[in-house]
Symmetry: C2
Subunit: 157 residues, 2 copies
């Protein structure tokens, strides 16, 4: 029997063409636990329609610069084995929105600073404190710490 028998489940190829993702990428996300495909007796992956939503979320969050690790943390709030409901998604999207706001704020702060620097004609990132408020940045940590910090590690809710 063709596609009608499969209880609304989708093959990896179908999911690929629906999301625009490569089949290999979807397999990778499955291996990494970002989605949880079930299997046919023959061992083929079958996806819930709601998995498309998960994958969409992954794509968008990635575009925003979140790592798969961070995205995985967000998605952990969703049930893997049942279709997520309203409440489930609301929780995620609220947290996501918070991160968006944070990121927008960071870019705006940077832009405004930059405006100031253009205004004074220097773009002296040292002087304007856009970068490395304390000069000796190397003492404050391993990597460089900027004013524009991101961090999605902990959900601040």
């Amino acid at each position: 029997m063709p596609a009608s028998d499969r209880q609304g489940l989708l093959t990896i190829g179908e999911v690929a063409s629906r999301t625009g993702l490569a089949v290999s990428a979807i397999r990778y996300y499955d291996d990494e636990g970002l989605v949880a495909a079930r299997r046919t007796p023959g061992g083929k992956r079958m996806f819930l329609r709601s998995d498309i939503r998960r994958l969409s979320f992954i794509l968008i969050a990635q575009q925003l610069g979140f790592s798969l690790e961070e995205i995985r943390a967000q998605l952990k709030q969703l049930p893997l084995e049942r279709t997520p409901n309203k409440r489930d998604w609301e929780k995620i999207s609220r947290g996501f929105r918070a991160h968006l706001d944070e990121r927008i704020g960071m870019l705006e702060r940077l832009r405004d600073r930059l405006d100031g620097c253009i205004g004074c004609g220097c773009l002296s990132l040292e002087t304007c404190k856009l970068y490395n408020p304390g000069d000796k940045a190397s003492q404050t940590g391993t990597g460089p710490r900027l004013v524009v910090q991101t961090s999605i590690g902990e959900t601040s809710t």
Copy 2:
């Protein structure tokens, strides 16, 4: 003679502690042509003070998700061998600001879309057209194309 003889030039170690970058990273940027250190007769890298500015720019732009390749393109507008002046930096920072605005706009659009989805309680990324306006995204290109596209490839000025 100690640091006073060096005509205002900085060693790689000094640059590292000033910028918070690892020495190895600075060497890498030098190899990649993102900065252009001169050398002492003995072969040691010496940097202009203005190179700190270049490196600061690299750091900030990276935080915003620009690749070294893209950053290199921006920095190409600066003279490598002389200390960049007001005008030089103004040009860069204006282009940079444009990219910031673009990125802020993209995030705001996404946030507003997401608000709508939270409002209707679905976060149906498919339905809400946040992602893949035409469903069959795979036909519109190789990778997934989102509403939130970035691209800094061509400077639109």
